[in-house]
Symmetry: C2
Subunit: 241 residues, 2 copies
């Protein structure tokens, strides 16, 4: 291999920089989809196809991105409650089982997300009379998750309310002193929120029209986690006159 003269070295460096710069410009144009837009435009000149091809890339597509967050919408009512043996246990052995064996079942998905808690579970729900949903929260407490519950004062006296059971299992429950504590949300590990129209009643699961969003996008989770902490302080019996 011949050694290169100083001039040649300069040319090599110059060319390299020029090619590098050109590739950055092409990459930038590609990012902006100008290449593909003008590409289609010029192609259309040759092919005689109409020029509306220029705008064939929609705004949404042109700024493509990969969203790493979970967004799930659950719609109620379910046709049936989930079959525990089939979905959580070692299989359903009933000949004719009335419960749901479908993983798309909304209550099944809701409970699965509650069960995903590893550290903390903050439950802030207006009415809680459903035994199975309450038991799920209690089982998380027994697994070592730190559970806090906020509910509506009036709803403490609802027939079948689970508040007494929470307290007897050592779960702290706090309530409002005035108006309705009408939220229906759960914050899991301060990383995920489950929120909607859904009170924890059996009617909400298999009769009413209800909805729920589950997401771990911090833009949504953080305001709910903050609201829980704010109410937890506000409803602290020690701070109430």
């Amino acid at each position: 291999m011949k050694t290169m003269s100083l001039t040649t070295v300069k040319q090599v460096v110059g060319l390299t920089l020029a090619v590098g710069l050109a590739s950055e410009i092409v990459y930038y144009l590609w990012r902006r989809r100008l290449v593909s837009r003008f590409g289609s435009y010029f192609l259309s000149k040759f092919n005689g196809s109409p020029t509306e091809a220029i705008d064939s890339t929609s705004e949404a597509e042109s700024e493509a991105f990969t969203d790493p967050y979970l967004y799930k919408v659950l719609i109620f009512p379910d046709k049936a409650r989930p079959c525990k043996a089939h979905l959580w246990g070692d299989g359903c052995r009933m000949e004719k089982c009335w419960f749901s064996h479908d993983e798309r079942n909304s209550v099944y998905q809701f409970l699965s997300h509650i069960q995903s808690a590893e550290m903390t579970l903050d439950v802030c729900v207006y009415v809680m009379t459903d035994v199975e949903l309450a038991n799920c929260v209690i089982s998380m407490k027994e697994r070592g998750v730190f559970v806090r519950v906020i509910t509506n004062l009036e709803a403490q006296n609802y027939t079948g309310t689970q508040v007494g059971k929470f307290r007897s299992r050592g779960i702290q429950v706090r309530t409002n002193t005035n108006y309705l504590m009408h939220h229906k949300f759960v914050v899991v590990d301060r990383k995920k929120v489950i929120t909607g129209s859904f009170n924890w009643t059996s009617h909400a699961t298999t009769a009413n029209n209800e909805n729920m969003i589950i997401t771990d996008n911090p833009q949504i989770v953080d305001p709910y986690a903050d609201e829980f902490d704010r109410l937890w302080k506000e409803f602290d019996p020690a701070s109430q006159s």
Copy 2:
């Protein structure tokens, strides 16, 4: 300038490709934040700072992306209802105005998003007794927006219900026949959803603890728009026996 020999040209091309490839690798590593992580690691070796700097970049930051969607969480109660003259009109002239002059006011933001409708407004809310919220929907109908309302049958008879007013202004209202239609959401132009625990009552705005999510992420909006269409068909009086 001397002309280059064939060998030199080959060297130039080879070098250019090598530099180009190297720059792509560096760019890829930068994207993965490996450079900055190992950068801090090696820097820490020289500076003697602790090596936990390696993990200073959180997972969320390392996969940075630009999310083009709106995510807004509104928390109620507000301290006061919005001052219409200040926030929508030509300025408040009251010496002492009891209404809110703050654009962060939750009702103000909620109504602003309803008023952003250009084509369609699908309202699916359990109880609607608040006059101002109902009037906002009626004003959208008068601006030419196609408005549909679904509400709960029982709630049609609530004291102060706005359902009769909707109907008298030519807005179609449909209701359930069984159990509770307990949703509380609005779909704007099939592109944005406003959903939460919030019934359209005056207590919900300035007394109760309530929440609302506003987003235009289609992963959330589409299931709500579909649910509205499904219920609209299901609650069609012509299809009900």
